[in-house]
Symmetry: C2
Subunit: 573 residues, 2 copies
């Protein structure tokens, strides 16, 4: 646990009589996922001084008051375990909140207006950085161009990431600053959109994005600290008490540690290093220990098998239905993938691989199958997104599940956002294997849910609603898309709690309300076990508690610099 927190505890221990001062939490309607995956009701809890759950009581059971010195009155509200997002990008979420957001734009014109307004608001910024555009949503039928950006921002470089992070849109100043010209070659795994005359048109896809991205001045350490604080504030407002950071650089890790050292890490981060070199530098001979009272750990490594469906970077077994001349492409060949996975596995790092297309997922499952012969034991191989898997490959997934264990790390909201695009990309025959939550769970895989923020909002309530309904925020399509893949409420809640913890080797530390686990819990205004999907989407998080300390209170939304040492419940609250 963090020094300052322990110090608090120590002083309590030293000057208080009796030595321990437990906390009773009662008068709430609580749910938790049990070790068996079913949902159980909880009526009261006793927490110890160190922020750990000592006892959990069913409704009607009488809690022991022995050693209890503090009381938290649930005021009859709904209480749940703190929610966990199994796949997002922590600093990017913070930076996204600090940069131009185009995710709500409905047309190219709308986007251009927002961009010019943002540029006017920030005359001091050398580069205009933004993200979230989606030409599909704009019904543009093509990529936007540099010329269109030049009309509104001719003087400064502009660099705008697509909603899925798999393409970037530059103006001429940015292309110039990056030295991208007609003669520029796209690197393997990427492409440069060109106009009729062969000039770069403005958009660069997948690996080619780096041609411009590397010309963007890197954020300073102060920028990173601000982004982390911003991201944590966003997470706790949604009721997230833990997240998996999918692709941590050494700079990201140093930012996490600065926050931990300053006792300002109040959302738990399970980190996956961006590639094997970062993994070796961050973790050294193996995964890090759990640091700062289980608030940070390097679990393993994040690798990329292929790209995304929207930008047609996802690697398919058969051509794209809406672009028959391409099947997308792998980011790594089979040998490279095997070597990287094996380098990680030999030192017991957990391996998490991004795979979207059915060819990407099939190849990855083959690689995992092979490696499982060498690297035995509890491995929990993670497939990030697992978006389109050929049903013919499901049995193999089941075989691995029964062996080293496999995690399907999926994002329910991607299904609702991608639906129309996915139908266009895949055509009708491949949809059975797309976003197939229930079927993948059926193979025996662990189903962990997340948001992929900042690609989507890190909103677990939208995710829970989508998971049980497969309807979007407008209730479309009624009854749900490919409804046979809906999951029940217990599975959905487990995907955001116990299973997301298991996916990060954290099930003995947090993710459920059970003795010995960290006291991470939330009070909300809606009962997710009985409310309609639409109501669940509107859930308001009233309080968020991490390690027995309150880090968010809707009644005091502007509380600053919340840290674990400032969060001991005060007597009689």
């Amino acid at each position: 646990m963090t020094s300052r927190f322990l110090l608090t505890t120590l002083l309590a221990g030293a000057f208080a009589t009796p030595a321990h001062a437990d906390v009773l939490v009662d008068n709430f309607k609580g749910y938790t996922v049990g070790a068996d995956g079913t949902v159980a009701q909880v009526g009261a809890m006793v927490l110890d001084d160190a922020g750990t759950i000592k006892a959990v009581y069913a409704p009607g059971q009488k809690p022991s008051k022995k050693g209890v010195r503090f009381h938290i009155d649930g005021k009859g509200r709904i209480l749940l375990p703190g929610l966990i997002d199994a796949h997002l990008h922590v600093l990017s979420t913070g930076f996204a909140a600090l940069t131009l957001d185009l995710s709500e734009t409905t047309s190219l014109a709308d986007a251009l207006n927002k961009i010019s307004a943002f540029a006017a608001e920030h005359p001091d910024r050398a580069w205009i950085i933004g993200r979230g555009w989606n030409q599909e949503k704009w019904k543009l039928g093509r990529f936007p161009t540099a010329a269109e950006l030049d009309m509104i921002v001719p003087d400064r470089p502009v660099w705008l990431e697509r909603v899925d992070g798999h393409a970037g849109w530059a103006n001429t100043a940015a292309l110039k600053a990056a030295g991208v010209t007609s003669s520029s070659q796209a690197p393997a795994g990427g492409s440069i959109d060109k106009d009729a005359s062969g000039k770069p048109a403005g958009v660069l896809v997948d690996a080619a994005q780096d041609l411009v991205a590397k010309a963007v001045p890197p954020p300073s350490a102060r920028d990173r600290d601000l982004a982390l604080a911003t991201a944590q504030r966003i997470f706790i407002r949604y009721g997230l008490t833990a997240v998996a950071d999918m692709g941590s650089t050494i700079e990201d890790w140093q930012t996490f540690r600065r926050a931990g050292d300053a006792n300002k890490l109040y959302v738990r981060i399970m980190s996956y290093a961006m590639g094997v070199d970062a993994m070796k530098l961050i973790g050294g001979p193996g995964p890090s220990p759990w640091l700062y009272a289980d608030r940070l750990r390097l679990n393993g490594v994040k690798l990329y098998m292929d790209g995304a469906l929207g930008s047609r970077g996802a690697w398919l077994k058969a051509p794209y239905a809406d672009k028959p001349d391409t099947r997308g492409l792998p980011q790594l060949n089979q040998t490279q993938l095997g070597n990287l996975m094996s380098r990680a596995a030999m030192d017991n790092f957990q391996v998490a691989v991004h795979a979207i297309g059915d060819a990407g997922n099939g190849t990855l499952l083959g690689a995992i199958d092979d490696l499982s012969q060498t690297y035995k034991g509890d491995r929990r191989w993670r497939i990030e997104h697992a978006q389109v898997i050929d049903p013919a490959d499901w049995p193999r997934m089941g075989r691995i599940a029964a062996n080293g264990g496999i995690v399907a790390s999926m994002q329910p909201v991607h299904q609702t956002s991608d639906r129309v695009m996915a139908e266009a990309r895949l055509g009708p025959d491949r949809l059975r294997g797309a976003y197939a939550w229930k079927s993948l769970k059926g193979t025996g895989a662990t189903l962990a849910f997340g948001s992929d923020a900042p690609v989507e909002k890190p909103d677990p309530w939208a995710g829970l609603a989508a998971a049980i309904s497969r309807e979007d925020e407008n209730g479309l399509p009624p009854g749900g898309w490919q409804p046979q893949e809906k999951v029940d409420r217990a599975t959905a809640l487990a995907g955001y709690t116990s299973q997301a913890a298991y996916a990060g080797f954290a099930e003995s530390r947090f993710g459920r309300l059970a003795p010995g686990l960290r006291a991470d819990f939330i009070f909300v205004d809606t009962d997710p076990m009985s409310a309609s999907p639409a109501e669940i989407r509107k859930t308001k998080v009233l309080e968020t508690w991490v390690g027995g300390g309150k880090v968010w209170d809707a009644a005091d939304p502007d509380a600053k610099g919340i840290t674990s040492s400032e969060t001991k419940p005060s007597k009689g609250r």
Copy 2:
């Protein structure tokens, strides 16, 4: 303080009555440097549970026994504050100790025995690296062979450099790893020793050595962890309880943090990043906080103004006396130096610059003088080595000392090792400004002492002896070289304790025996305030204590994995 250490404290607090359990240390003859730089005698100390000094008593004063539950009997021995080395290279010191030294071997059989013993001692070293063999001294009449090495180390690569560095001896595993085969061609200026059948026999001469040398893998994280543990073991045996690491890479820092996270950091490390990029990556927006109960901090940055005297890289105002065609050269021009120092100073990183020659030191003093106009306050600009400074520049040093503060970070043993070489390089007229400890202290500069290990042994006793005598280990020259620059015993002891702490902004945390400071102290067999320089050189360190915990005991030299949590004094000891 580290979680585990605090936990110990917490439990003591929780279960013991009364809450605190102080430790009385008495029955010793103790010395400490006072805040005023004079040496005071100490007769007893009381430490608290957290390893901090609560009270210090003069000889004859009666210590208060209130709250005391443990006792450490000094048995009449000499007690000193833990010594501090203000300039060394932590991991290089460890790696040097992990390199097999064959220079004393008298026969091939003797060498083979030493090699196999070394291999057995270091099962986790991927490669066995050594140096110093000489087949002439062995009267072998031929080069040794790979086959002979294979007999004792068949499983791992072995690479051993000849005493003169002009040949290398490999085993078959090393030749295989390097891809050296019968068909390998020796590069120009090199040759490959071959057997009758034309196979590489094991020895590669001159330029050919690189064929194997380049195959030696860079140190792994495990190698670094081992090097750190080895270095710490060496330091505590010499009575060093804190060191300044002059030039930490991010890999070094990660190694320090791994040790801290595992509660295996028991020598305090004041880290100076190797250059500005490493500084920004390690420290972020500024110096790190003190971590792990004051066991680790990134203080600032290490820069290089020039090279060394021996290789004539040191930058002199006038030509070298023994090579009039050169004056050496700067590593940075004045603009580069100013920019780097300014980048560090603007974020309050401490700046430590290597400067050896009088031109290098003069230029550096000029740069500091300029920067002091912009970056005010307590800066403690550090000059590392400050070996040859033109007396004409001494007043400027005094001006800076009175302003932002300046540290002359010097290595007494360099003077005794370099004496003959320095006279040749500098000629008679420049010696007055060479290794001028007393004069530089006279300007008002803070005089901090170190070893520059592994360049010299990290032996503070040799340093103390040299500092007060300017005689080498053979007592030469009698009366001392440039004896006017000897320092008194108080100044020498301060240079290895209070001033070395001040040089690292640590004077309020450790470096003296005083209330509120960490209880870092040593028991030794020799009284440095009365013994002769020769006797001081032979000082045996009997026990080393860091933060109130014993980390080294000459009576139990093989104690393994000493950590702060294992070092609480047991009752009645």
